[in-house]
């Protein structure tokens, strides 16, 4: 039913469109007909062998890889036999496709096949130019690509190294990561070794752009560029200042370097300890005991507003004098008195009191072991009770005795 109604609807539509077309024809006829040909048809038809650099320089004893393409524009695909002509004696030339030697190629319509001409240049090749012709031969067509190879001193390997952000700021604990772009500007693939010269005790490591593996060298194809990352870890106790790190890359005699700078600002480092290093003390139940703590700054910048706090067992009292220290200069030590009062109900034993010093972003804590002793007062009371019992006995002797 549905199909049927659709069909009838469709035929109705078609009739309507025909009617409209009839009405519109006088106006449309005036415009050029556009929809007649396929839109992306190239203007030229044919078969080509293409390469970017038909004339290259090679060095004796090396292998030159020349990339070229077999381009088919608008022709019916056919098998095209590939051959190399004009190879000088002692030289060796192969056509490689997909890394394998190939003898024929078949590009589709409006497509191209990538190929490589591999030329083994012998060590004793004489200076001068040699022309090697690559030929693609089909059933009724044949095309040539002459490639001129000039024996000579090839442009030496060349590397460039460039840092995105050559100067970073931070504290001794920050992570300094520099992203550097290494480009291989020479005509061949290189394996680039990396090294860094950093001040003593600075640690450096290289990683690939977004990788996590530490690397010491990286292969870069001819003309390509890769990002590497240098991570510099300064020692914790480094003084504030600027520290240069020279990053070097080297491959086959080519080197490049780039200086990156760490601008390290000082950072305070808080340390809390007891005056004589002894982190234990004694206290009596219900009585205040004073201990001396030492707040020191082992860092390289002053610490401001050092606040002291402590966590002690329930119902204990803890007071610091002073409660806050306005400033502690580097390598300075300041003493703080802490008064701890165990609660009246504390039983004898060892307790932990944790003291903490806090500055902006810095903190240090020291666990203090407090041995609580009970007062001997109750011992004396006990002796008193025994004395009372003895007095009762003596009273009885006085009252009833000597019978």
């Amino acid at each position: 039913m549905v199909m049927l109604s659709k069909k009838t609807q469709g035929s109705k539509m078609r009739r309507l469109i025909a009617l409209l077309a009839l009405v519109a024809t006088p106006t449309l006829a005036a415009l050029p007909v556009l929809a007649a040909d396929p839109p992306a048809a190239p203007a030229v038809k044919g078969l080509w062998l293409l390469t970017d650099y038909p004339s290259q320089t090679v060095r004796p004893g090396e292998v030159a890889n020349i990339r070229f393409k077999l381009q088919n524009a608008g022709l019916v695909p056919e098998t095209l036999a590939l051959s190399v002509d004009g190879v000088p004696a002692g030289w060796k030339a192969d056509v490689l496709g997909g890394g394998q030697p190939v003898a024929a190629a078949m590009p589709g319509i409006n497509e191209s096949t990538s190929l490589t001409l591999r030329v083994d240049v012998p060590k004793d090749a004489k200076p001068g130019s040699q022309t090697i012709t690559v030929q693609a031969k089909g059933a009724n067509q044949s095309i040539d690509l002459p490639v001129t190879l000039t024996i000579g001193t090839e442009a030496p390997a060349k590397l460039t190294l460039k840092a995105r952000l050559p100067s970073l700021m931070g504290t001794p604990r920050s992570a300094y990561e520099y992203t550097l772009a290494v480009s291989n500007d020479s005509g061949k693939d290189l394996t680039v070794a990396m090294s860094a010269q950093a001040p003593a005790n600075f640690q450096t490591s290289f990683t690939e752009g977004y990788g996590t593996n530490e690397i010491s060298s990286i292969p870069i194809e001819a003309g390509q560029s890769k990002d590497i990352k240098v991570k510099v870890t300064p020692p914790r106790d480094v003084k504030a200042g600027n520290y240069p790190v020279l990053v070097k890359v080297a491959a086959e005699g080519a080197t490049a370097d780039q200086r990156v700078t760490l601008q390290i600002s000082g950072q305070g480092r808080l340390a809390l300890s007891a005056k004589d290093g002894r982190l234990s003390g004694e206290a009596q139940v219900g009585k205040t005991s004073d201990y001396t703590l030492v707040v020191s700054n082992d860092g390289t910048a002053p610490l401001e507003e050092v606040e002291l706090s402590g966590s002690v067992p329930t119902n204990w009292k803890v007071e610091f004098n002073p409660k806050t220290i306005p400033s502690v200069a580097p390598n300075e030590k300041k003493e703080v008195q802490v008064a701890v009062t165990p609660s009246d109900k504390t039983i004898a034993g060892d307790y932990v009191a944790s003291f903490r010093a806090n500055a902006k972003g810095e903190s240090s804590n020291a666990d203090f072991r407090i041995t609580v002793t009970t007062s001997t007062l109750w011992g004396i009371v006990g002796v008193g009770i025994i004395a009372v019992a003895l007095l009762v006995l003596l009273g009885a002797v006085a009252r009833f005795g000597r019978r």
Binding site: T346, I347, Y351, T373, T374, G382, A389, A396, F400, R402
Partner: protein, 326 residues
Amino acid sequence: MPRNQGSREGSPFTGLGPVFLKELSDHLSSTRMMVLTLFVIVFGALPVGFTLQEIRTVTASDQFLFLRIFTVEPERMPLSFVVALNFMIPLMAIGLGFDSVNSEFNRRTLSRVLSQPLYRDALLLGKFLGGLATLAVALMALFLIVFGAGLLLLGLPPRGPEVARGIAFLLVAIAYGGVWLAVAMLFSVIFRSTATSALCALGLWLFFFILWPMIASAITTGFTPAQFRSVDEVLTLEQFSSALARLSPGTLFGEAVLGLLNPETKAFGYFANLVMAQTRGMIPGTPLPLDQSLLLIWPQITGLIAGMIVLFAIAYIVFQREEVRA
């Protein structure tokens, strides 16, 4: 008593020495004493033997290994040395004291003794001290046997604090024996029949060991609220329950010994220890120094010594008011 005024002359303790020495020699040479000592030693030696065997297999280092001989409960016997002593010392003391006065009376030797130039004061005190000295000798012997066995089988000497704690333990044990000796003597003064006094003393002993814990727990249950609202409430109830239990000299002795021989003891009662350690920031498992342990158990020691003196005073008053001529 104006008529006695004239006779109250000199020290009431003249003749104390001879009475004490005679009593001591009588006790030490008596068959009863031999039997009692043997009894106690066998009862004490068994747990110690088992405990020593167990301790020898333990490889963990222990600061107070020597004291564990007294307190560790062996697997093969649900009784540690101190628990056995807690039970045995009263029996020994009652055995020594239940007939000290009334047997003299029944043998009609009391008036003969008192016709000598000595006061009743000296007689009673001499008898008490004689019994106490006998107890002390027996306990000392037992203690030395245990220490010696420990030395022999563990092969390591006790440290200073351990010896000090051991000696303190011995003194507490003697004081505990003194309490029961005073109880036995009180009954021997009150009752003319030795059988009655022995029965009463043993009855009291059984009461405190079997009935009193049940009664105390029943009373505590009566005071237990339907729901605890705070930790302090639990602790208060615990304190009440221990206060009731401490009316028994056995509990006092047990706690005093625990404090002495288990240096890690910081409070008595299961909940007290738990709560103190967990909520009040205490470092668990650390031993207390000896003086702090002594301070902890000082109330118990005081209770034992004062109880002994008061009981003796009551026996003394009853004895002084008694008619001894028969």
